[in-house]
Subunit: 178 residues, 2 copies
Amino acid sequence: MISKWETIDRQEKSRGHIFRHLVAKRKSPDTGAQGEFDIIQTLHWVNVIPLTKNNEVVLVRQYRHGTDELTLEIPGGAVHWEEDIRLAGERELEEETGYKSSKWEKLGTCHPNPAFMSNVCETWLARDCEPKGKQNFDDLEEIELVTVPLKDIPNMIKNGEITHSLVIAAFHYLELLD
Amino acid sequence: MISKWETIDRQEKSRGHIFRHLVAKRKSPDTGAQGEFDIIQTLHWVNVIPLTKNNEVVLVRQYRHGTDELTLEIPGGAVHWEEDIRLAGERELEEETGYKSSKWEKLGTCHPNPAFMSNVCETWLARDCEPKGKQNFDDLEEIELVTVPLKDIPNMIKNGEITHSLVIAAFHYLELLD
């Protein structure tokens, strides 16, 4: 049986706007092996699948700094410190798309990358979305809305129009919905 | 229409074993807005769904330093510099599980997180896997094998036994297979 390792020490190596790079010194209780491990510590995230009454999904097209490319994603973002995750989803949905919903259902909770990231990402489904809110972009955020029929999503994942792992996981949770 | 931003400058802020923390100074060609953006630069990754002739999946249980928890994942890892991605998949499969396959099929290429990570993750299906190889763990790697019927995977994702976003994305690609 694999065991959790003991944390001997943890130091901050650098700090960014959206994460901290930590180095943890840890020891295996099974083998006594010891090493230093890089960790990205960040806020939890929330992603929202916004569905309209016509079964269309409201996607956001953005320029993304990690890949230096444009992407097509579902709305979402970081959950503020001590903010309720669903309320963060409502906030991000309205800020990024101007859409609102009163029918929220949790689809699942995943780990973006347990190997070196500390946080979780919750995915929510927002049904009967309507453009009754007000877009309000963060500084430096530029977003274009793209509305597509839900039935087109599998093909968009297959042909590489949608590539974000957390967005693909979100649509997988949707398929597993009872 | 959203445009790609111009990169004005890029500096390394810290360096870990598995990534570098960069800060890019960028400018929007549309609005002239300018800012600094955190980027995690890392090698590409490969993940493998190992299927046996009995339609069982060979999973790996590991302690993960990001979440400080045990996880259940498919085998995979970082692609070495200039290594062929499929060969990296074969290597990781054998090193982590001792299984080998001669039937490889690419399932998809996703971005782990385009917002701040530069890399891609390729997912491969390895059919007719057999325990004919030799496990060879990295230093500090401890792995337990868990073999489960493929038909049990959806339930394991629903009930939170499998939570890694890239593993969930991998099984989504498998479902989309023609």
